[in-house]
């Protein structure tokens, strides 16, 4: 009897469980079916609105399009400012496409997990999704079915301006398995190659008349800072910059070009003179890595970072840089364009008229600079969206309509920005950067458009244009835009390799290893081999061969 009862209970629970899951599944798969239908009959009407008129775009029903973005939700007065702008914007959107926009924020804390979780829900709560192939898992999500494949007809019909502005080559780069999933931010000059931002005036005082242009220069610089300003921690790193620093060392000492989006360590890649041979310098180039380990040990001994840097979670290095409490920040060019400009929050320039910020970019010694992939920022449409057509129409306006663009990116004219005689953007009177900066709230990094951008007058354009010009001369385009590695069979090995690499690079990059530099590098290489780095390299090589050869 007891057994029978148990069996019955189990059976009921199973059935209940299955039905529960089944019913949760049904609408999702049903939804994607309709999507498919819509796609195949794209030029006709949206199937949900059931209008008999097939030629024109039906916008009779007022809909709300939710735009999902990484960033912290504004509150208090900030939110009020944002609402004012959104009200204005929604007036225009309602008039033009009978839709309004709402923003759904994925807070910065654990953003990647929350981002992916929100996508995994597939409940139609978001429509437009700001995504990126290198830092927001765009391809894995496309593969997992979170994004709607955008047919050409659909794009032509609902996002005609975007369709026209992106070249066929660029659309090609947004395809996975022959379908377009992303609308790329391909007309916006920005550089996100990493490097060290440092105090140029201090570097000059340290005897580096032209500033820092090599890792050795940085050593000199850090030594000088430590001796001259004992209260300043040269670089108060929070212990998370290991991968960037190690990658930077590799690009400064080789022609390595990393593949985006395979793993956070970016271990695999090609070289700029032999693009399609997969190499792993961190694993194979022992001499280079030993040099790296030695130099980082030296930095550690100089006291560039705090002794317990690996557990130092409470650092706010960038803000400390703005007010002169640290002497360096490691991030990308885009961040430098902010830090080198005398904006109100960068008080170093008010406190010290001689203050200047230089930028040593990784790869400077070898002219190894790769331009940003056009899918570093891109917009996708959720596969669960109930109004994908309208979502596209809204995006088309935000991206290409001057009025919408300015509102969405800069806010209301006279409140959040003003345009000066030179046509540059300035802060209006009574502007409060903490509450009025719309740009820092809408976080629109998925389709900025240089045709419509209004330059910020506070930026140090002289220095910025100079560096950009230099980049333009030496850069190569990201060569692997179409390479979406199929990692299903090697996922486990990649995870393990990445884990091993991360653990060792962390120790090496902060000089926190025991024993000699040679030993730790040898130990790392041994562990990488065990984790299967060679098998992964071979598998990637086969895929590269299949794609490019």
């Amino acid at each position: 009897m007891k057994k029978k009862l148990l069996a019955m209970l189990l059976a009921t629970s199973m059935v209940a469980g299955v039905t529960a899951c089944g019913s949760a599944d049904a609408p999702a798969s049903g939804g994607s079916d309709t999507d498919k239908k819509t796609e195949s009959a794209a030029s006709s009407d949206s199937s949900s609105s059931e209008s008999s008129d097939s030629a024109a775009v039906d916008t009779s029903e007022h809909v709300v399009i939710t735009y999902m973005v990484t960033g912290d939700k504004p509150d208090g007065e900030k939110a009020a400012r944002l609402d004012e702008m959104m009200t204005e914007l929604n007036k225009i959107l309602t008039e033009k496409v009978n839709a309004e926009l709402e923003i759904y924020y994925i807070g910065w804390t654990d953003y990647l997990s929350n981002y992916n979780l929100t996508l995994a829900q597939m409940d139609g709560s978001v429509d437009l999704i700001g995504t990126a192939s290198d830092w927001l898992d765009a391809w894995p999500n496309a593969k997992n079915g979170a994004f709607l494949p955008l047919s050409e007809d659909m794009l032509k019909t609902y996002a005609p301006m975007t369709w026209a502005s992106v070249t066929p080559d660029h659309w090609e780069l947004c395809k996975y398995n022959g379908d377009i999933y992303l609308m790329p931010e391909d007309n916006y000059a920005q550089w996100t190659n990493h490097g060290f931002i440092y105090r140029l005036d201090w570097a000059k005082a340290a005897g580096l008349a032209n500033g820092c242009h090599s890792w050795e220069d940085l050593t000199t610089y850090f030594k000088y800072v430590k001796e001259t300003y004992p209260d300043i921690i040269p670089w108060d790193s929070d212990g998370t910059n290991y991968a960037q620093t190690a990658g930077g060392w590799v690009s400064s000492h080789s022609k390595f070009v990393a593949f985006d989006g395979i793993c956070s360590g970016a271990i695999w890649g090609g070289t700029s003179d032999d693009l399609y041979t997969v190499v792993t310098p961190a694993y194979t180039d022992t001499e280079m890595m030993v040099e790296y380990a030695k130099m980082m040990k030296e930095w550690d001994q100089i006291g560039v970072w705090k002794t317990d840097v690996l557990n130092n979670t409470a650092s706010s290095n960038r803000d400390d840089y703005r007010i002169g409490r640290v002497a360096a920040e490691q991030h990308h060019t885009q961040t430098w364009t902010d830090l080198c400009s005398a904006t109100p929050s960068n008080t170093i320039y008010q406190d010290d008229p001689n203050a200047e910020s230089g930028f040593f970019y990784f790869g400077e010694e070898t002219d190894n600079v790769v331009a940003l992939s056009i899918t570093h920022g891109a917009m996708a449409v959720s596969a669960a969206s109930k109004n994908p057509e309208r979502a596209l129409m809204v995006y088309d306006l935000i991206r290409n309509d001057e009025q919408c663009y300015d509102l969405f990116n800069y806010g209301i004219k006279g409140v959040s920005y003003e345009i000066n005689d030179e046509g540059l953007r300035v802060n209006p009177e009574g502007y409060n950067p903490d509450t009025d900066n719309i740009n820092g709230m809408t976080n629109y990094w998925w389709g900025r458009n240089d045709d419509l951008e209004i330059r910020d007058a506070s930026r140090n354009w002289k220095a910025i244009d100079e560096l950009y010009a230099k980049y333009d001369k030496i850069k190569i385009d990201y060569p692997y835009g179409q390479f979406v590695p199929d990692v299903d069979d090697i996922q486990g090995k990649i995870q393990n390799v990445n884990e091993v690499y991360t653990n060792y690079t962390k120790q090496i990059s902060y000089g926190k290893y025991n024993g000699s530099a040679e030993d730790i590098v040898a130990e790392m290489q041994q562990a990488l081999k065990q984790a299967g780095i060679e098998e992964v390299t071979a598998a990637l090589q086969a895929q590269i061969d299949a794609l490019y050869k």
């Binding site: 009897m1 007891k2 009862l5 629970s13 199973m14 209940a16 469980g17 299955v18 529960a20 899951c21 089944g22 599944d25 999702a28 798969s29 994607s32 990647l112 997990s113 992916n116 996508l119 995994a120 597939m122 898992d137 894995p140 999500n141 593969k143 997992n144 079915g145 979170a146 212990g239 998370t240 793993c263 956070s264 705090k306 002794t307 317990d308 690996l310 557990n311 979670t313 409470a314 596969a383 299903d488 069979d489 996922q491 486990g492 090995k493 990649i494 995870q495 393990n496 990445n498 884990e499 991360t502 653990n503 060792y504 962390k506 120790q507 926190k512 290893y513 065990q530 984790a531 299967g532």
Partner: protein, 319 residues
């Protein structure tokens, strides 16, 4: 004790043939049980079919049961990492230390509390010991960092002002097993001792009085009356705890050790490893695979230990 007999009574219900009659007869008791039954049904039994996710290549659009079946592929990465043994060993050893030392200390503290004469002091010390239990693990991590870090930590401040050499625990993997156990005990003992304290309170006062009349001193009373009366409670709590021996205390380890790879050798447990490995590519399937691995091992351990206990002392076994 009383709870246990109630539980037995409810088990008896199931054994009798006229189940529904009994159900009606004990309707009040059954009704009181309903929230627990609903809870476990909803949160423990309903999700069971979802275990299947550990065997597929999960696709958001297709759902758990529509995704491609890949067999044991999701378990491979654990095995391939070559760390499975170290991780399982660390997890189990830490948990054993937590369980054994934790329970011993809790019994000890409960007995001490019981022997205290001053009621006021008893309450104060109990509250003081209970407090750490309510501090979030994140804060505990910050607290520990501020005590132990090399540059500005309290301990090193004291050491250097005494003219002693500074101590760098965040670069020394060997000191963490001890430190982590101490931190755990500091946090949990107050809470754990409450259960034992309650059990002591439930001991028949007549027995204790009788021992007094027979001339037993305080130590004899503890040795011959309190400890034997606590035995069933200890065994049951141990059995429950052992079920989770493969499930690491993620909050404690992650907040204190963080991602300091220098210390992984002695502090990496299954949870922290999996967290790092799967956070980078957000793989539900491998994460579930690990969860399943832990559950299976935990299940085997509970069954084995319960079997052994049953052999030795059938009354104390769980089922």
């Amino acid at each position: 004790m009383r709870k246990q007999s109630e539980k037995k009574a409810s088990q008896m219900q199931v054994k009798r043939p006229n189940f529904f009659k009994l159900l009606w007869k004990y309707r009040v008791l059954t009704l009181m049980c309903v929230p627990a039954i609903v809870f476990f049904f909803a949160f423990s039994y309903m999700p069971l079919p979802g275990i299947y996710v550990a065997f597929v290549k999960y696709n958001y659009g297709k759902g758990i049961f529509g995704s491609k079946f890949v067999g044991l592929q999701n378990f491979e990465f654990l095995a391939e990492s070559g760390k499975l043994l170290t991780l399982t060993r660390n997890t189990i050893l830490y948990n054993l230390a937590f369980i054994i030392l934790g329970n011993l200390l809790a019994v000890f503290v409960a007995i001490l509390l019981n022997e205290m004469r001053s009621k006021w002091f008893k309450k104060v010390s109990q509250t003081m010991m209970f407090l750490p239990y309510f501090i979030s693990q994140v804060l505990v991590g910050v607290l520990v960092y501020n005590l132990l870090n090399y540059d500005t930590g309290f301990v090193n401040g004291v050491l250097s002002s005494l003219g002693l050499e500074k101590w760098q625990p965040y670069a020394d993997p060997n000191c963490w097993p001890v430190l982590l156990v101490i931190i755990y005990l500091w946090q949990q003992t107050g809470y754990n001792s409450v259960v034992y304290f309650a059990a002591i309170m439930g001991i028949d006062a007549e027995m204790i009085e009788a021992s007094k009349v027979d001339g037993a001193n305080a130590f004899q009373k503890i040795r011959y009356i309190i400890l034997p009366s606590l035995k069933p409670t200890i065994v049951i709590l141990l059995l429950f705890a052992l079920g989770g021996v493969v499930k690491g205390n993620f909050g404690l380890f992650y907040n204190i050790i963080g991602t300091n790879s220098l210390l992984y050798g002695t502090t990496d447990i299954i949870e922290t490893f999996v967290y790092r490995a799967t956070m980078t590519d957000f793989n539900f399937s491998t994460a579930s695979a690990v969860g399943l691995y832990q559950s299976v091992i935990g299940f085997v351990i509970v069954m084995t230990v319960n079997y052994i206990v049953k052999k030795i002392e059938p009354d104390y076994s769980l089922f």
